[in-house]
Symmetry: C2
Subunit: 273 residues, 2 copies
């Protein structure tokens, strides 16, 4: 059982920031990753459509007999609420892990959250924060341009587009003097330098995807489900749009080649289950 893979999915390539962290923390684990690149982005769609896509994604991931499922997508995580397992399979999104890290980091009880419009509209981060620390003030803002910016390589902190959009989206949060800021979408770590520079050193940035990887380590340890084969784990990637496009985007996103095979899955297969 412990050699079963861990299933990770995202609307696209953003969740690869979680895979990278998993590979570091849990080098013996096998990973099956699905990026729904034929239907990205999720964050500007309605709640109903996001739920439908997430169900289909999970259906596909479950075909791989996984021992744990991670929704490495801020939008899906916010929409699914506080779900902890799926038919007995341990599950986590990125909300709870990020919120735990933020609550630990926030000394002054003021936390900022940025995410897609669907994520911010859901209020999921705020609810989860208040469940831990009732007195916390939460400042959220939607950043709809960040995903297309990252996907089109606009990430350089000195680029006027990047600087301007970061300032526009983060100004209302900075004004509130938060001391932790949750990057609530797994694309946003690619804008880390620009966000860090604007927010200043005293604000701790929390990357939702990386926190989810640490959380998975805890869950698997507690449940005695870690892969103890002693062998190096492998990554297997699936993409719903073309393999070439996935490899190309992943390379520019991660700044390195993908460390695993990529296979295609059609949206027809996702829909028909």
């Amino acid at each position: 059982m412990n050699e079963q893979a861990i299933g990770i999915f995202d609307s696209g390539i953003g969740g690869l920031t979680c895979v990278r962290e998993m590979n570091k923390l849990l080098p013996n684990e096998n990973i099956v990753y699905f990026g729904d690149t034929a239907r990205i982005p999720y964050g500007t769609r309605s709640r109903e459509t996001i739920k439908l896509y997430a169900e289909q994604d999970i259906g596909f991931i479950r075909k791989h007999n996984v021992k744990m499922i991670i929704a490495a997508c801020g939008t899906v995580s916010s929409t699914m609420g506080s779900c902890k397992d799926i038919d007995g399979i341990p599950f986590t999104g990125v909300v709870i892990p990020a919120v735990q890290a933020a609550c630990a980091a926030a000394r002054n009880g003021r936390i900022g959250v940025i995410g897609t419009p669907a994520t911010i509209k859901s209020g999921a981060y705020g609810k989860a924060i208040r469940a831990i620390r009732q007195d916390t003030a939460v400042m959220g803002n939607a950043c709809p341009m960040f995903v297309p910016m990252v996907e089109n390589g606009l990430t350089d902190k000195d680029d006027i587009i990047v600087k301007t959009m970061v300032e526009r989206y983060l100004k209302p949060i900075k004004k509130e003097k938060v001391d932790a800021l949750i990057l609530g979408c797994t694309h946003y770590p690619m804008l880390y330098d620009a966000i860090a520079e604007y927010m200043g050193e005293e604000v701790k940035l929390i990357s939702a995807g990386a926190e989810a990887a640490k959380y998975a380590l805890n869950v698997l340890t507690m449940k005695n489900m870690l892969n103890d084969s002693g062998e190096q784990g492998t990554n297997l990637f699936y993409s719903s749009d073309s393999i070439e496009l996935f490899e190309e985007n992943a390379r520019s996103f991660m700044g390195e080649e993908l460390n695993g095979q990529v296979r295609a899955v059609s949206t027809d297969e996702l829909v028909k289950g």
Copy 2:
């Protein structure tokens, strides 16, 4: 037969620029519009995925017993090539209409084309232009950020983001001293003022969606298929994401309320046919 509707589809709301023009030119015609808002954008996807989505969109439109089909989407039009009818139903994309207008407008034989990455990669506009005027020099550039900018309301010509992105994408085309520029994606007319200001008065801008409407008028006139009922036509809109989101985005896109009923169609229905 002549009272049958005209079917128009797009990846989202961009094609509404074509509907508006149709309503002006052909006030007696009934329109069935489908915007695939649950799977937008098309322009950054692979050729195979775009073809699959276009087939499913056309399948859905055909259920409405239409007398003509218009792909009011630069990406779909570029991918479908020079298709002129679908099982006997007259069809047009936006490429041929835009190219005819550009060739008529370009005095110096130098034409610029902007579009989505998929459109520019297809080379469809260039091929169509050279089929009419072999000696034309065609300068194309992909503008992947324009669709997300338009969808997020970043269209004001004095906004630093709009100014900078317009300059970045159009600089290589302006340098080539074109005297006509095809806005090869039906979202781009929303950036008309910014593009016109940057390119200068002497460059004629061609809106692909509006040209497609004029072309449809020609086709229906020649084929004696105009609706001669004398009654005001109606618009019926379908959207694959939520009706509320479609109405909201359409309102901000068009600057006015939609003049017709909106109904939902699920992506499951599109896929299953």
